[in-house]
Structure formats: C-alpha cells, structure tokens
C-alpha cells in the first residue's frame, strides 16, 4: 500500500496542503479530484517521493519513502507528471530504453528488453512506428501517451502487484478516441495488480475508473469514498462553485458531468 498521512505543506507562505491523507491499495484506482490549485499535484509529488514532507509522512509498504533508494523506488512506482519533458534531441526509443533501465553498455545497439511488451504498449496507445521520432517533435497528446507507456515499462512485466502508477492529469491533451484508449489500458493495468493514483479534472473518467475518489479543495480533504458517493451534485457545487451532475449515455455509463 502507498499511503500519505497528515501531509501539510506550506510554500511561499501559502498553505498548499493541510493535514491531507490518502492511500492507494494494489489493484485499485484512487481518483484525486478537485479544482485548480487544490493541491492535487502536490499530493502526487509527495507520493512520488519528490517532496520530502514538511509534516506527516508517505509510506510504501509501511516504509517511509525516504528510506527507499531512488533506484529501488523506481521499480515500484512510476510517475507521469503534467509538465512536458525537455527533448534535448532524445528520441522516443531513448526514453523507452531509459524507462526499462536498459544498461548503457548495450545502448549502442539497443535491443529492448521486452520488445513484445514495448510494441504492444505503443500499439495500445496509437504510437506504433514513432520510436525514431524526436521527443520534442511529438504533439503534446503523443508525448503524454508516450510517457504513460514509459511509466508502464518502468514498472516491468505483466505482474504489476505492489507497483504504483502516479498520473497527473494523464488525459488532459487527449482526443476522445485516445482518451478511450488510455481508459482501457488503465483498466488492464489495474487488473494486473497495479495501484493507480489518477489526478484529473475529468470527473466522468474519475467516476468510471475510480474505485475510490478523494475530493480536495484548498489543500484540505473534503470527502473520500466510492466515486458515486463523492461526486454528488451537493459536494461538487460546494467544491467547484458550479452546478454539476453526472450525465449518462444510453448504456448507463457516466459520459460527462454538466
């Protein structure tokens, strides 16, 4: 289990997080929902081990993140942050090599460790044939999907039990078709045992995919529970200040909030 307890974080005199707690269990999706500036990214950065907690703590399997060597931690959790990464002439294949931990000794004639999984993941997110492309020539949607592929390769093979995937608005640049592709992939990843933290503004995605949702606002925890209990018109009005209710499609799936 990856859990944050009582995180408080003050930056530049502003309280970004105020006694925030959340936990993600294997084979579940935790949706992190809240308005802009609510503190979702800061929670994720704590969970990633990037920020050392000012107060409170983050534990992976009961051990504080600071006690995990960076290299070991990288095999247990992977991150897709919201910023685009600088390309610096690197190619898609370079990023994937680095994610799989391809040793540099073999880099001159890089042969991917698990070529089948690599190409399967690329195909799943409509990136087949992009391996020779430079990172900075990808569209923002492509780069976002590529980084999800890289994160999954970083976590290793098909058995993802005890591995965690931290996603900061992973669908913000996606068109409806690719959004669907990501959703399908994330369901499969959950089936394989990974715990997923999904920070998103797409309430419908959070409702469809989340086993649990956390609503935060102003760095503080508003509510936590099953998505249908959390993403209610009352709580959403309170949090976002606009009336929002789930809209269902013909099949009864939540298609949007409006």
């Amino acid at each position: 289990m990856l859990e944050a307890s009582n995180l408080s974080f003050v930056a530049g005199g502003r309280t970004v997080l105020d006694r925030m707690s959340c936990a993600v269990r294997p084979a579940t999706v935790l949706a992190l929902v809240g308005p802009n500036g609510a503190g979702k990214t800061t929670v994720l950065r704590h969970l990633a081990g990037e920020i050392v907690p000012q107060s409170g703590g983050v534990r992976l399997d009961g051990l504080p993140l600071a006690a995990w060597p960076a290299e070991t931690l990288a095999r247990r959790r992977a991150v897709v942050s919201a910023q685009t990464i600088p390309g610096n002439w690197f190619r898609v294949s370079d990023l994937l090599d680095l994610a799989t931990g391809e040793t540099d000794a073999g880099a001159i004639d890089a042969s991917p460790l698990a070529p089948s999984r690599r190409s399967a993941l690329l195909a799943a997110l409509d990136l087949s044939g992009s391996e020779a492309a430079r990172l900075d020539r990808l569209s923002s949607g492509e780069q976002q999907r590529l980084r999800l592929v890289a994160a999954l390769l970083q976590l290793g093979g098909d058995d993802l039990r005890g591995r965690y995937l931290l996603l900061d608005e992973p669908t913000s640049h996606q068109d409806p078709r690719h959004l669907r592709g990501i959703e399908v992939l994330l369901r499969a990843v959950r089936e394989q045992g990974a715990g997923i933290v999904l920070s998103t503004h797409d309430l419908a995605l959070a409702a469809r995919l989340g086993d649990e949702a956390v609503l935060i606002h102003g760095g503080a925890f508003i509510a936590q529970g099953a998505p249908h209990e959390i993403l209610t018109p009352t709580l959403l009005l309170e949090t976002y200040g606009v009336p929002l209710a789930p809209l269902r499609d013909a099949a009864g799936r939540i298609a949007a909030f409006g």
Binding site: A48, E50, F90, L98, D104
Partner: protein, 340 residues
C-alpha cells in the same frame, strides 16, 4: 537537426581512433628539430651522439607532451560533457563554471610557496592545490546558484562569472607577490602549454583522467535521464545527490590535475561535446567516449600547431585552443539560433 545529418557513432569512433594514431605519429615526428622516429632506425651511419640526442628529444620531450595532450584533451572534453549534462546547461564547462580559474589560483598559491615548478613533489603539491582551488570555486558557484531556486541552471553561469572574476583577481594579486622568474613561469603556465611536461608527470595525468572517465561512463544512464529534467530523472530512479557528488568529484579531480600540469585550456570542454552532439551522439554512453577521443585529438593538434606554427618558438596552447574554439563556438551558436 535533421535525421540525415546523423553519423553512426561506431564509424565515427573508428575514424577518430585512426586520426588519433596518425596524428600522434605526426606529432612525434614534428618539432623544432628534424628528429624523427624513422631517423632513429633508418640511418645507421649517423653518429652516436646525434642519435642519442634525437632519441632524447623523441622520448623525453615529444612523447610526454603527446601523451599529455591526449590525456588533457580527453579529461577536459569529458568533463565539459559531464558538467553540461549534469547541470542541463549547454554553457556549463570547466572554464565558465569557475573550476579552471579556481584551479589556477590554487596552483598559483602553491607556486608562490614552492618557489619554482621543480621536481615531482612540487608538481604533486601543485595538483593538490589546483584540485582544492577547483573544488572551492565550484562549491562557491554551487552555493550561490542554489539561491536561484527557480532557475539554478542560469544561476550557475551567473555565479560562475562572479567566481571567475574573484579568482582572476586572486591570481592578479599573486603576480605582485611573485619574484621575476616566478612571474615568468606563472604567466606561461596560465596561458597553457605542454612544454614543461616530463615523463614522470604522466601518471598524475593518467590516473585522474582514468578515474573521471570511469565515473562518467558508469553514470551515463543517469546523465541520459538528467537530459529529460531533474524531476524525470528522479522518477526514473536517479539518486540526484549521489550522481552529482560522483560526477562533480570526478570532473574536479581531472580538471584540477590537468590544470596544475599544463595550465588552463579553454574551449575544448565547451566545444567538443557540442560538435559531437550534432552528429547525433546524444546518449552519454556514446557521447562520452567520443568526447574523450575527439578532445584528445583536438588538444593534440592544438599542441602540434603551437609547436610548429612559429618554429622554433612556441605559441601558448591556450591561445591556439581559443583561436579555433571561439569561432567554432560562435558558429554553433549561430547555427542553433537559426534553428530556433
């Protein structure tokens, strides 16, 4: 950079090695006197004294400087590539970050205490002084840069300017304290040159260069990850603090050791990695060995030109590297500006 301009790294390495061998032979056989390797064997009727003289010129004068050029070039270029990668700054190089001037000041202080560059002990002391000076300068630059929380990369260069100026002021002050002969020694040394390199000094260049290159190659994946940003590098499992310690340590060692023996060499650390990146070698497992080869070749030629252009006089090495490095760098800037 269009894909078509890429040059296969392996082919490039082969060409560089061949060029190195050929150039080293040429350098051994060129100089103020016509002594040559073939001369030692080809003309048995030569009198013994001339033969011994030629032999001494080749083995005691030219060979050490050829080997020293190769090592200094490799160390400087690899350090440049490492610092650029580590700080994700295209302008990071041992000279601009204040490391070279710090090393020069450190060695200069030792010269003041020692009287003259003399035997091996003085050289060693000079190296220790230079490495200490390089380390002091770098940690000053680093602490200043860390104040620029938002943009440490830019902070490094600004702090480098400040520390460079301070170190230059320090070396300027030294010149007032030196005796006339010390002053001459110091001035020639600060301009850079392989002239005074003895064979006994070579291990003291070889060991630090070897260590720095070894560390750099072991950290090649970390440097690759850093090219994608510090945050991404951490996500990919890079221990940022440890990587920084190792790579900075290796670079300080190699640069300090080389500055103490041959003086500061400008532009090699800056330009060589940039030129090689243009060939498509951006992954450090390829870039670093190519830098070692190309850096060695560049300094070897710079020293060769320094020796033969104004024969029997000799140009300062730093002058030659700057004369070629500055326009190359300007061209790279111009080229990149055009692309942006």
């Amino acid at each position: 950079m269009p894909v078509s301009s890429e040059i296969p790294s392996r082919g490039l390495a082969v060409v560089l090695v061949a060029a190195l061998v050929a150039s080293a032979l040429l350098a051994l056989n060129s100089g103020a006197t016509p002594a040559s390797l073939w001369g030692l064997y080809a003309s048995p009727e030569q009198d013994a004294r001339a033969l011994a003289r030629d032999r001494a010129i080749l083995l005691e004068l030219r060979l050490p400087r050829v080997v020293a050029s190769l090592l200094v070039g490799a160390a400087t270029a690899v350090s440049g590539a490492v610092l650029q990668g580590l700080f994700r700054n295209a302008l990071a190089d041992p000279a601009l970050l204040g490391i070279m001037s710090g090393a020069a000041l450190g060695a200069g202080v030792v010269l003041l205490g020692a009287g003259q560059w003399g035997g091996l002990e003085v050289r060693l002391l000079g190296q220790i002084g230079a490495i200490a000076g390089a380390a002091a300068a770098f940690f000053l630059v680093w602490s200043l840069a860390c104040r620029f929380a938002a943009d440490r990369t830019q902070g490094l260069l600004l702090a480098g300017i400040a520390v460079n100026a301070a170190a230059s002021a320090g070396t300027g002050l030294l010149t007032f304290l030196y005796s006339d002969s010390q002053l001459r020694t110091f001035v020639f040394w600060t301009l850079g040159g392989m002239g005074g390199v003895e064979r006994a000094a070579l291990p003291f260049l070889l060991a630090p260069t070897g260590i720095a290159l070894w560390i750099a190659l072991r950290q090649a994946r970390a440097l690759d990850c850093l090219a994608l940003g510090e945050q991404t590098a951490f996500h990919l499992g890079v221990d940022l603090a440890r990587t920084r310690r190792l790579l900075v340590g290796g670079s300080l060692l190699a640069v300090g050791a080389s500055v103490a023996i041959v003086g500061p060499i400008s532009f090699v650390g800056l330009v060589v990695p940039h030129v090689l990146r243009l060939t498509g070698a951006v992954r450090h497992a390829r870039l670093l060995p190519l830098c070692a080869l190309f850096g060695a070749l560049a300094v070897l030629w710079a020293d060769l030109l320094a020796r033969i252009l104004v024969r029997p006089q000799e140009l300062p090495l730093g002058l030659v590297t700057a004369a070629f490095g500055a326009p190359t760098f300007a061209y790279l800037l111009w080229r990149r500006g055009k692309q942006a």
